[in-house]
Symmetry: C2
Subunit: 330 residues, 2 copies
């Protein structure tokens, strides 16, 4: 059991009532059955959740089964609260982060935490970032867009600068993708919208030269970077062809993308990703434990890659570099 | 010289004045230099165009150099006119289609035509489709969205039904992608927006079960299907996991996608595409002759695929199946 999983979500078992009246998006829990609860957002059941979302002993059993030695836990993205009034978002995320801290403490060294920050308010974000650092969080999970605004926008530079100075890892997770051009049922938000939004987020961070400005940043993308694998070759060619593109970039897209990390949650095409982004940049991510998660990540790697040393890099070495932890930690 | 290129654009050398006053989007030409003209749309230079856009003799020389025996020509997508009042769009597209017919006649059997139809008006579309069929067009080029509406929408079924009955090939080309989540300079519309929009279009046609309803349809996507290569493995897994997804699809995404064709305009990752979509479904597409086009398509195939028989399929056999033409035609 040696795997490190950087993409695994938790939800608190309960939520306090909001101190303000009628806060849009403030969550609450209701009973469902003996091992599930419904999370209610804006009067509707957003999702029926297994109690494994908050029961650490059950998670540890699953981790053993999956071959995961260290689970890096982060909030379910609908809890990001970017769309909430600033003070309520701060209150909710402090509560969620404190819950994550308690889960990590309960895990006996088998979990690390990624907190969330209210990115609609940069002052509150910096405040919470410093608090997370003091509390021993490994980093933060952020959305692939902030209320529709691309991550590379100048507005968010203060966040990346602070995360860089504090040495916090950043996990970019898909959230609330554009759905106008996606036809069909609700799950397609996760199936098609998520990878599209993560792909555009990675492209936007390349366009903003973030990794050139802050080479020390450690950033990983959910869902293997989503559609970015398809966008990159064209972005690289655009860099060679369009002066407006090459003048705007400090280095070629190909160089920038090999500084990012990507989780392995692509179900297929891992070979292609390893070649495109580099074998040193892929890290296990399972999306545990939502419906759509990777149930057997270690076997998937074993079936995909014959080289044992390479598998070891993807199983734990790369994750240690992303999290800046030593072998002693996991 | 045996290659068939299904992705090559033309623009008429001149445009008539609109018979209506102040038609939004109606194009006109102005002189630029001895071998370029500016196409003016809504009072602005939309693009400076080489006279190769309308000078067939020059195109034939380039085709020789590129190893292309048959060029399938289609309008520059900004001419689709989906955003124009219906009668003006009909007038403009008839004019453009007639110009394409003249180019094809001038090419001495070295070109085939794909026309355009005003998809914002299904009656006018069916009228023009029948006219295109009578005039001997190989098929139609359509946008990856119609004024932001996904191609799989029920509204467009009459179009696909008619194209199927008339035996017209359909080339889906990126047009006016969503740009809200793309950060940066204008060329990124083509670099990042285009593949994103084509990818979502392919997904929407899978979601609408189009190829199950009309198995005889021949549909090809520009830019190698764009981000669809990244979306497909996740769509296939979503089909296995979410009942709402599998119930909505008549067959798995993996089966449906192998009925589509994809051009080779990906600059890289052709191996991966051949494996994902099938070696029988890739066709040369160069985007001749815009800034971003593939200049040496035959060599690209030679460098990518060692197997001569496979290269032959990608160079011409697959295109013949898409266009339903025999070896005698090209």
């Amino acid at each position: 059991v040696t795997g490190i999983d950087i993409h695994a979500h938790v939800v608190p078992a309960t939520f306090p009532a909001s101190v303000r009246a009628d806060v849009t998006g403030w969550p609450s829990m209701e009973a469902h059955d003996s091992c599930h609860r419904n999370i209610i957002i804006d009067g509707k059941v957003y999702r029926t959740l297994s109690d494994k979302c908050w029961t650490i002993s059950k998670r540890l059993e699953d981790m053993d089964r999956m071959g995961i030695a260290l689970q890096v836990i982060s909030p379910m993205p609908e809890l990001f609260a970017y769309w909430m009034d600033h003070a309520s978002a701060r209150d909710l995320l402090r509560y969620v982060n404190d819950q994550i801290l308690a889960f990590v403490a309960e895990s006996n060294g088998k979990m690390l935490g990624l907190g969330a920050v209210p990115l609609q308010d940069l002052d509150l974000t910096l405040e919470e970032l410093h608090r997370l650092k003091e509390l021993g969080f490994a980093g933060v999970e952020i959305g692939s867009n902030i209320n529709g605004e691309p991550l590379g926008s100048a507005r968010f530079k203060a966040f990346f600068k602070a995360a860089n100075e504090l040495g916090l890892a950043i996990f970019v997770h898909a959230v609330r993708p554009a759905m106008e051009r996606i036809l069909g049922h609700k799950p397609l938000q996760q199936v098609l919208g998520y990878p599209t939004d993560v792909g555009l987020a990675a492209a936007a961070l390349v366009s903003s030269n973030l990794m050139v400005q802050f080479p020390g940043l450690r950033i990983a993308f959910s869902h293997g970077g989503g559609t970015f694998a398809s966008l990159l070759p064209r972005y690289a060619e655009g860099y060679r062809v369009f002066p407006a593109v090459s003048e705007a970039l400090a280095t070629s897209p190909e160089i920038q993308v090999r500084r990012f990390f990507y989780d392995t949650l692509v179900f297929d095409s891992l070979h292609y990703l390893a070649q495109l982004f580099g074998e040193s940049q892929l890290i296990i991510g399972t999306d545990y434990l939502f419906a759509f998660h990777e149930k057997d990540p270690i076997n998937r790697l074993r079936e995909t890659f014959a080289d044992e040393r390479l598998r070891e890099r993807l199983t734990c070495d790369n994750a240690r570099r992303f999290l800046k932890i030593s072998e002693a930690n996991a």
